[in-house]
């Protein structure tokens, strides 16, 4: 199993550009999550999905969009990049709705918006 994979590893965007951060998992997990990590701020939840076709907002959804057309993939879209979106983005997945299942994290995407 590759686990949770994310592409790209690094990206520099200009203000106003758009991009999609890719996330895929091969563990047949129903739940998937997108977080951003800023220094000293821990992880903030952007969006999550409880299954294909179902997504919901987290704590900091503004400026982002997601879709979940398959169990495996959960891309994160930035439509109009802003400097405030400079961050490290992590995708994660977990097996089921049971609260005791831990999350598996991808290696992250480091995004800089200039």
């Amino acid at each position: 199993n590759a686990g949770v994979t994310q592409t790209p590893k690094f990206r520099i965007l200009k203000i106003g550009q758009s991009m999609t951060l890719q996330c895929a998992q091969d563990m047949n997990h129903n739940y998937m999550y997108w977080y951003r990590q800023d220094p000293g701020m821990g992880l903030k939840l952007i969006y999550y999905s409880v299954g294909a076709g179902i997504t919901d907002k987290g704590e900091v959804p503004n400026g982002y969009n997601v879709s979940r057309s398959t169990t495996e993939d959960f891309p994160l879209r930035l439509e109009l990049a802003a400097p405030s979106q400079t961050s490290v983005y992590f995708c994660a997945s977990s097996y089921s709705r049971d609260s005791y299942n831990e999350q598996f994290f991808g290696p992250g995407t480091r995004l800089t918006v200039l």
């Binding site: 992880l43 994660a92 609260s99 005791y100």
Partner: protein, 113 residues
């Protein structure tokens, strides 16, 4: 509201000494508690979790954590620190209802040779 607090941004400990990384939580209902470790330029890795039962939970790499319901704490411990334990540690909580995990702000552990 559900939340996690890690009161120490930085913990320094000498190699071979015991280490403790602190975590307190607030959650509705029964708490499910997790510890994750993050090495530089890597994603978070699961260390251990508390679901129910024995208050002392053992996890990967010799780490353990003690659940204390009355103090709403879940401190991470290791009897003898290694230099390779130097990393960023995150505590997380999830209630028995709801879909979200709530993470602390992280504690940077440095083990000094």
């Amino acid at each position: 509201a559900q939340s996690v607090a890690q009161p120490e941004d930085q913990v320094n400990v000498a190699e071979g000494n015991p280490l403790t990384v602190k975590c307190t939580y607030s959650v509705s209902g029964n708490p499910y508690l997790f510890w994750y470790v993050q090495y530089p330029n890597r994603g978070l890795q699961f260390l251990l979790k508390y679901i129910t039962g024995d208050n002392l939970v053992k996890g990967s790499y010799g780490f353990e954590a003690e659940f204390n319901k009355s103090q709403t704490s879940f401190h991470l411990k290791k009897p003898s620190a290694l230099v390779s334990d130097s990393a960023l540690y995150f505590c997380a909580v999830r209630g028995d209802t709801g879909n979200q995990f709530y993470f602390g702000t992280g504690t940077s552990l440095t083990v000094i040779p």
